[in-house]
């Protein structure tokens, strides 16, 4: 399973909040990316935390620098609206693009990007919030309802050609209270493309709780790495322990 660092970037700073809101500066994106690379991270996801609100993107220069010193896959998301934005992101050195708001507004964008650049570079970002009888997809960094059911949406995204899903629980994000296990299980059952789970990790038992029920293809970590609560090696060890204890 991949251990992935997620860097939410605002005005050239990595920021971290709760429920994707209430943001606080935690460091320089390039310094953090390099440090995580040197610590053995499998992949890095940069999300422009404000771009999709103001329809702009200031992350390209960060990506360009990161791609010169970080030799693991780099994903960029936030504010990518059109095929031309995707092209610019890939030109800057990103390997994959994460699309959420734009995909909800124009689902065919997923298809267009997959056709032009291959499914492997299309990460469909899904922000899920619990409802009385399931989950609803949100957009604009978890601020706006879409009225779309997550389980319907992920199947559609797979059909449109998404190569993998970045599944964020808006409820759990930044709370350090554990993953939304039923959400991951339901999405894992609904699709056959790889799933990256983001939002909620606080302590090793949360990985065990998740892996006892269902196994995603990757786990995204933010606060725990930014605040040095755990190292990449410790997280990897926790995953291995959880996998081993489940097999018994």
């Amino acid at each position: 399973m991949r251990v992935i660092a997620r860097l939410d970037v605002k005005n050239q700073f990595v920021i971290k909040g709760i429920h994707l809101e209430g943001l606080r500066k935690v460091g320089d994106p390039n310094q953090l990316a390099k440090a995580y690379y040197e610590a053995g991270i499998d992949e890095i996801v940069f999300i422009d935390a404000v771009a999709s609100l103001y329809n702009r993107n200031n992350l390209f220069s960060v990506i360009q620098k990161a791609s010169e010193e970080v030799f693991v896959p780099i994903t960029i998301g936030g504010g990518l609206r059109r095929l031309a934005d995707v092209e610019q992101a890939l030109d800057a050195g990103a390997d994959k693009v994460a699309l959420n708001t734009a995909a909800i507004r124009e689902p065919e964008l997923i298809q267009k990007v997959a056709k032009q650049y291959g499914s492997q570079c299309v990460v469909a970002s899904v922000q899920a919030k619990r409802t009385a009888n399931g989950w609803e997809a949100y957009m604009e960094s978890g601020r706006e309802k879409t009225g779309v059911q997550v389980l319907d949406w992920v199947r559609r995204l797979q059909d449109l050609g998404a190569g993998e899903l970045l599944l964020t629980s808006v409820d759990q994000e930044g709370t350090k209270s554990g993953f939304d296990v039923p959400l991951v299980q339901a999405v894992n059952r609904a699709v056959s493309i790889p799933i990256i789970v983001s939002g909620g990790y606080g302590q090793p038992k949360h990985i065990t709780e998740l892996l006892n029920v269902t196994e995603p293809s990757g786990l995204c970590f933010a606060s725990v790495l930014h605040y040095k609560t755990a190292t990449v090696d410790e997280l990897r060890k926790n995953i291995e322990l959880a996998q081993a204890s489940r097999i018994k």
Partner: protein, 209 residues
């Protein structure tokens, strides 16, 4: 300083390959210009995407002959991911398409039982090198370092044992991870995205150039 041409044919993240080669001290040029390519000490064929599109772009950019001439010159060539797949006789992705025919074999879908496994195979996977692989592209790497980043749904099949450099196990299938035929190397994984182990492999490549 070794001059490595990275073949630009409109597919994939060529910047990453260039960045990785520069990081290990090579001078690189992304190019589809015949003269630039022919003057380089080594040639890298990168690429992500679909087989038919890859082949069509090579034909359209008049690069098929350039690649053949370059290989005939005896200098080292490295195909990465789609760049490796195109070296084979044919591919069956979407529509059956002839490849460059430089290494015997075909490129086919990884067999997966629905509900039992996920495609694409996107993962860091431990590879199993052959003796030939250990002596060449993986030379100097310890067993625990032989872990590389894969992104693919198709893989080479029918590869001759002599050409096989490494395999990887995925969903119960033994998949071709790396091949070699004389001066031509190919990796299904992305060395430019595989951290220090990937950079080590690229160093082995440029040391050959």
């Amino acid at each position: 300083m070794k001059k490595i041409a990275v073949l630009g044919y409109g597919l994939g993240n060529v910047r990453s390959v260039g960045n990785a080669l520069r990081a290990i001290g090579a001078n690189t040029d992304v190019s589809h210009d015949e003269q630039t390519v022919m003057q380089a000490d080594g040639l890298v064929i990168p690429g992500v995407g679909a087989f038919p599109q890859g082949m069509a772009n090579l034909v359209e950019s008049r690069l098929v002959g350039v690649i053949r001439n370059y290989i005939d010159s005896g200098r080292p060539v490295l195909g990465i991911c789609l760049g490796m797949q195109l070296l084979f006789d044919k591919g069956t992705e979407f529509v059956p398409t002839d490849g460059l025919g430089l290494i015997p074999g075909s490129v086919d879908n990884i067999p997966v039982t629905p509900g039992e496994g996920r495609l694409p195979h996107i993962a860091w996977s431990a590879i199993c090198p052959t003796e030939q692989g250990r002596q060449n592209m993986f030379a100097g790497l310890t067993d625990s370092e032989m872990r590389f980043y894969f992104v693919h749904s198709y893989a080479a099949t029918g590869v001759k044992p002599d050409n096989l450099s490494a395999t990887v196990s995925y969903l119960g299938n033994t998949i071709v991870a790396a091949v070699q035929s004389g001066n031509v190397w190919g990796t299904q994984f992305h060395p430019e995205k595989s951290g220090p182990s990937g950079l080590h492999l690229l160093k082995n490549f440029i040391n050959n150039c």
